[in-house]
Amino acid sequence: MNLSELKAKKRGKILKILDRKEVEIKLISIGICVDEEIMMIKNDFSGAVIVAIGDNRIVLGRDLSDKIQIEAL
């Protein structure tokens, strides 16, 4: 499933990032990498989402969260 489909307070593990390499490198540098566990903090099913990686809170545009494939945990 896509990250954008993950409901708030649910966890997932990142399987694949389907964006340009520049975007993926930026994501890695901010802590979002394949095999990482991620938790959805806020998803209103329109507009950007907020995810947690450890103590970090990161805002991802909806288009970007559509391109991150995850496995729900």
């Binding site: 520049e22 901010i30 806020k42 103590d55």
Partner: protein, 667 residues
């Protein structure tokens, strides 16, 4: 005395600027969102026979140079001869911070890690095995709490020890997979002796990652071609871009180290910030709360600002009568006019708006320091998306209400070049505080008290609508390239400290005062000369009057006469000069000490005429400073020129339309 260059670098929001201020005794402003340090700042410290030049670089997540602020930091590090890197690390966020650290350690420059916010890590029950980390990374490491001024002496001592070559601290290099290492070695043999061994490795890796800066610097087609072959070979094997392979490897390496270095890993827990966010960015309440906060800031700006404004106004009028009364009778009359009508009136009419500007900047700095600004970007993302940009473009727009120049600089955190240029081009349409100066003069003169807020609001709204429309047009007309999605870290909420906010406000307001004392003073004198000669008794016959009259036919359809034209000329330097120029024109015209421009204006213009003037001021050619910064930030005259022409034509069109339609209804 030996000189050393020290670079401070770290992630956004890791406390870097605070460390810089502590080390140099400087008082730079800090913020609580990415992109506060958009330019490199320098400070100095002399200690123990060494003179340290300390440079504060923009906060970045990596040296891959995707956004402009990353490019600034990367170029600086690669181009300048830096003696020591001080890498500030957010101890409560090690995994993310160390990604940059790994890249820095590849540079072969002595490096000291400063583990900041160790108190917050403690509070979160995060126990870090410092000794282990230090040994495995083969690097000097100091624990600091910059906000409480702790650990600075230790940090300085380490830096000094390195300058004295008492200790060595370069950090380790990650070993990549064997085949990658082999290609790196192959590439290294291509270079002549212009690089030393460690540099060769770095350059080889960076060139594998297609670093544009180094590609240009190397400027050798044959070498670049060979590197391309190596890259292709590796990419075929790994089935993805080599940049990604290396980034992932760095990330894995950090994970491995941290699994041993962090003694008690804590699990997810709801933070206070999360709880606050449940209200402040709530699906239903978030946006109304945002509007209320904006309303309060503008209310504070105007309501609270009006009291000190009166005091300053009275002060200048008393000062002006005082100068006049002590002036020797009938002597040096030209000089007297220059001082009273030119300088005091000119500068005074601009300084009077200082309180408004201070309150506006105070509001903006509280939003920044508290961490709310990033939330506003999140909230506005949906809206910004509709116009084709995303939330990150909102922060510059917000700052644009204060001043367009820092706003344009704040666009550096936008990764997509296209979105960045579009944002820069449309920013001058946001009514900045200098335009507000013009509005606060004209609105009370022409509109009844009850209508004043609506008129002001409509001007701001027209600016915003035009900015949105321009963004849409630019998107369709100029750019078809791919954009970069919204990606932003949400900072933890902080109580904005009184001192910090005040300092922050003062830092920015000071620029305004400086402008009043230099640019506006100079222009006041120039304009006074133009309005005094050759015939001071009839301003319409002076140079400025003649210029104004010559261009009158062009602006007549908008309802402007030569006096407005003459003042508009002044506003080319800076929008608020329009006010001081009007002041000069009317003061000289009367040859009396009445500085009540507003009453005189009422006799000459109608409300609809005044509205047309304000629209023109709002939209037309931005001030010199904005044009200069646009040129600098877009690195091209083309965009600066485009901005001037586009905005002037737009301003003419809008003022013409509104004035003509207005005349039809209100005459």
């Amino acid at each position: 005395m030996k000189k050393f260059k020290i670079a401070l670098i770290g992630n956004p929001n890791c406390g870097k600027t605070t460390v810089f201020n502590l080390l140099t005794g400087n008082r730079s402003k800090t913020g609580n969102y990415a992109g506060v340090t958009v330019e490199t700042k320098k400070g100095y410290k002399s200690i123990d026979d060494a003179r340290l030049e300390i440079v504060d670089l923009p906060g970045v997540y990596s040296l891959n140079a995707i956004s402009e602020d990353e490019k600034v930091a990367r170029d600086y590090i690669l181009d300048e001869k830096i003696d020591i890197i001080v890498n500030i690390i957010d101890a409560s966020n090690l995994e993310k911070s160390l990604f940059l650290t790994m890249q820095l350690m590849e540079l072969g420059i002595p490096i000291v890690l400063a583990l900041n916010m160790i108190d917050i890590a403690d509070k979160r029950n995060l126990k870090i095995d410092i000794e282990f980390l230090k040994n495995i990374l083969e690097v000097e490491l100091v624990c600091i709490v910059a906000s409480k001024r702790k650990g600075m002496d230790d940090l300085l001592k380490k830096v000094l020890d390195i300058t004295k070559e008492k200790i060595r601290s370069y950090g380790i290099n990650i070993k990549f997979e064997n085949d990658i290492e082999e290609e790196i070695k192959n590439i290294q043999t291509l270079f002549s002796d212009e690089f030393n061994l460690k540099e060769k490795r770095l350059v080889a890796i960076k060139l594998l990652e297609e670093d544009v800066f180094l590609q240009k610097k190397l400027n050798s087609c044959s070498i670049l071609h060979k590197i391309k072959l190596s890259k292709d070979k590796l990419e075929k094997k790994y089935e993805e871009p080599i940049e990604l392979v290396l980034s992932k490897k760095r990330h894995q390496f950090i994970k491995k180290i941290l699994s041993k270095a962090i003694i008690k890993e804590h699990k997810y827990q709801k933070t206070t910030s999360d709880k606050i966010d449940e209200v402040l960015i709530n699906k239903f309440f978030g946006f109304p709360i945002f509007l209320i906060i904006m309303y309060l800031i503008f209310q504070m700006t105007f309501y609270l600002g009006s009291y000190p404004m009166n005091w300053i106004e009275q002060g200048f009028s008393i000062f002006s009568s005082f100068v006049s009364s002590i002036w020797p009778k009938d002597n040096y009359l030209i000089l007297k006019s220059l001082v009273i009508d030119g300088i005091i009136t000119g500068v005074g009419s601009v300084v009077v708006f200082m309180p408004n500007i201070m309150f506006l900047f105070l509001g903006i700095s509280v939003l920044e320091d508290s961490g709310y600004m990033a939330r506003a970007a999140f909230l506005l993302d949906r809206l910004m998306h509709k116009i084709g940009l995303h939330g990150k473009s909102f922060i510059p727009m917000m700052i644009g209400f204060g001043c367009t120049v820092p706003a344009i600089m704040a666009t550096r955190c936008i990764e997509s070049k296209k979105d960045r240029i579009i944002t820069i081009l449309s920013l001058p349409l946001i009514a900045c505080s200098a335009k507000l100066v013009v509005f606060t003069l004209l609105i009370p003169a022409f509109f009844e008290r009850a209508y004043q807020p609506i008129v002001l609001f409509s001007l701001y709204l027209i600016g915003i609508i035009l900015a949105i429309a321009s963004i849409k047009i630019f998107k369709i007309a100029f750019f078809k390239k791919e954009s970069f999605s919204f990606l932003m870290e949400l900072p933890t909420y902080q109580m904005p400290s009184f001192n910090k906010s005040m300092l922050h406000m003062w830092d920015r307001s000071k620029e305004y005062l400086k402008k009043a004392g230099t640019l506006i003073l100079g222009f006041s004198i120039l304009l006074w000369v133009l309005s005094y000669f050759p015939n001071k008794d009839d301003i319409s016959k002076t140079y400025i009057g003649k210029i104004g009259k010559t261009i009158e036919p062009v602006f007549k359809p908008l309802g402007f006469d030569w006096k407005i034209n003459a003042s508009l000329l002044g506003s080319l330097a800076s929008k608020e000069v329009f006010v001081s120029q009007l002041g000069i024109i009317y003061a000289i015209k009367d040859n009396k000490e009445t500085h009540v421009i507003q009453r005189r204006l009422q006799e000459d213009y109608t409300p609809i005429g005044a509205f047309s003037i304000m629209l023109f001021i709002l939209i037309s050619t931005p001030c010199l400073a904005t044009i200069a910064i646009t040129k600098k930030e877009t690195k091209s005259y083309k965009w600066a020129l485009f901005q001037i022409v586009y905005l002037t034509i737009l301003a003419y069109g809008v003022s013409f339309f509104v004035y003509r339609v207005g005349l039809f209804f209100f005459r």
